[in-house]
């Protein structure tokens, strides 16, 4: 009885939101100013990069993390710190997503994050040729006689050269997953990228990084033409941003009203998977066997609830305009079976 009485307040206590949400603040910037950082005790800081001339005034909308941050004003740090430039917080909550993380179906909140392995760096031909050349030169110098200093200088130069030679940036890996729950009709769009994830300015949603890190930020860039760029940033981190899709046409067996799929798979309530191949917009669900036996990606099929129908899909490249050029996937739990 006593234990139950002690447990009741614990169970009744509000469970804090698991994700870092966004509130939008308005910031008035007066030049000369290069950078403003907003620290609000949350786990994401907001950094605004601009290049304002003396006397130039701009008002920008910036994202602020909401999860563990108190609702008081964030601390502003300016660059240059003692210049005549200024930044004033005009409004602290210029826009709020009425949909909270805890209002989402539990199954949707529990979905696994798509894997974002770091792009694997590889030595290019120039660097390999340099190392091989340094070996030949080193051995030749050794054969010539007492030329220790020259050999060491050559070795040191070849050691430093990989850092100096121009390097091609590895192809950025970006994913987009549409996560749906058929029972509630709720959809989330999850974007993921490593180190830098571009956001639509004004986007409201939830941000996450793997692993958790203190050095992660919302980056706002005020470009010279006046355009605003938003991004999540974190060195060495896999970054994710979830947006609630209030009006997303769904997938029904009789017709695909949402996205063209290059390949799709269904799972019935008994747990049997069926490859269905490509599924065009407006077309009915392809018959079993059209997929040629290709298996769905393991991470996409992992951790899904049992006893309900599931639809998994890989978004067609043709639909890349809607997908922003990323690899796109669909995961819908509660997909109705054809017989219904």
């Amino acid at each position: 009885m006593i234990a139950a009485a002690l447990l009741v307040p614990l169970l009744a206590a509000e469970v804090p939101a698991a994700q870092d949400g966004i509130r939008i603040a308005e910031l008035r910037l007066t030049g000369p100013l290069r950078e403003v950082t907003l620290e609000n005790a949350g786990s994401w800081r907001t950094r605004v990069t601009c290049d304002l001339a003396p006397g130039e005034v701009r008002t920008v909308r910036v994202p602020l993390a909401t999860s563990d941050a108190p609702r008081d004003e964030p601390e502003l740090r300016l660059l240059p710190p003692d210049g005549p430039g200024d930044a004033v917080l005009v409004a602290l909550a210029a826009g709020e997503d009425p949909f909270t993380w805890s209002a989402l179906p539990a199954g949707l909140r529990a979905r696994s994050w798509p894997p974002l392995r770091p792009a694997r760096p590889r030595p290019d031909a120039a660097r390999l040729a340099l190392v091989a050349g340094a070996l030949c030169l080193g051995l030749a110098l050794g054969a010539l006689g007492r030329r220790r200093t020259v050999a060491l200088a050559v070795g040191a130069l070849a050691c430093a050269a990989p850092f100096v030679l121009p390097a091609r940036a590895p192809a950025a890996l970006a994913l987009r997953v549409h996560e749906g729950d058929a029972e509630s009709g709720e959809w989330l769009r999850v974007d993921g990228a490593r180190e830098i994830l571009d956001l639509r300015p004004g986007a409201l949603g939830w941000a996450e990084s793997l692993p958790f890190a203190r050095e992660r930020s919302f980056e706002v860039t005020l470009e010279t033409g006046g355009a605003l760029r938003w991004a999540l940033s974190g060195k060495g981190l896999a970054l994710y941003f979830c947006e609630h899709l209030s009006a997303f046409e769904s997938f029904e067996p009789r017709s695909n009203e949402a996205l063209a799929l290059a390949a799709c798979w269904t799972r019935d309530a008994a747990g049997a998977w069926t490859a269905r191949g490509a599924w065009a917009v407006g077309a009915p669900l392809p018959p079993p066997g059209a997929g040629g036996g290709e298996a769905p990606p393991g991470w996409l099929a992992a951790g899904l609830p049992q006893g309900v129908g599931v639809l998994l899909g890989r978004v067609a490249r043709d639909g890349s305009e809607r997908e922003g050029g990323r690899l796109g996937f669909v995961r819908l739990v509660g997909f109705p079976e054809e017989s219904r």
């Binding site: 390999l128 220790r148 040191a156 390097a167």
Partner: protein, 221 residues
């Protein structure tokens, strides 16, 4: 002067190829290196081979043989630089890479100088100490740990010696905490101390042997 003076041209080329291997890894091999330092892996063959005890022929050549480790170091630097660049491009912190390089350079110099000193006399004693400290203790530590399968701990002395080994330090830089080596001050301090001890031992043994030879020469009529 030649690389052959320290390691032999063939051995230097083998060490060079082995140290380049982590940079060329692809597919599943590259996946297995994820998060680890390729620089630390590339250092392993050089640490193992630059101080390799001199053979009989090298000992016979004695003082006539010039100091050869700078040439070996010159061959080691390019693949190490490439591995460090790949570590940085792969997202490893710059301070960690610099810390590995800052310990590795004096370590290679000390081991090379120890080998040079051993070539001038007292190579047998140096050979025994090198075998215990470099390959012996870490191999025994790993074997005992494997044999115990987690139910016991390797003997304290073996664990202590393995912790001092420069090879354990480099492996610890690759594999992280939980190995015989490690990442703290004790790990790199121990590795440098072990290399310094090897060099001191080699220099002392060489001086003692030269003194003995001098005394014998003095006794001859």
């Amino acid at each position: 002067m030649s690389a052959a003076a320290t390691m032999g041209r063939t051995r230097a080329t083998i060490a060079w190829a082995l140290s380049l291997a982590p940079s060329l890894a692809s597919g599943a091999a590259a996946d297995s290196l994820a998060g680890g330092s390729r620089l630390a892996l590339a250092l392993l063959p050089w640490i193992a081979l630059i101080g390799l005890p001199p053979g009989r022929s090298a000992r016979r050549a004695r003082a006539r043989e010039p100091r050869g480790w700078p040439a070996a170091l010159a061959l080691a630097l390019p693949p190490l630089g490439l591995a460090a660049w790949l570590d940085r491009a792969g997202g490893l912190a710059a301070d960690g890479i610099l810390a590995t390089a800052a310990v590795a350079l004096p370590l290679l110099c000390l081991l090379g100088e120890a080998r040079h000193a051993a070539g001038r006399g007292g190579g047998g004693l140096y050979g025994m100490a090198w075998s215990v400290l470099l390959p012996g203790a870490p191999a025994l530590w790993a074997a005992l740990g494997w044999a115990s399968s987690g139910r016991g701990e390797p003997a304290a002395l073996v664990a202590w010696l393995a912790g001092l080994s420069p090879l354990s330090w480099a492996w610890g830089r690759f594999a992280g905490p939980g190995t015989a080596g490690g990442r703290g001050v004790t790990a790199w301090g121990g590795a440098l101390l072990a290399a310094l001890a090897l060099w001191s031992l080699a220099a002392f043994a060489a001086r003692a042997e030269r003194g003995e030879h001098g005394a014998r020469a003095g006794e001859r009529p």
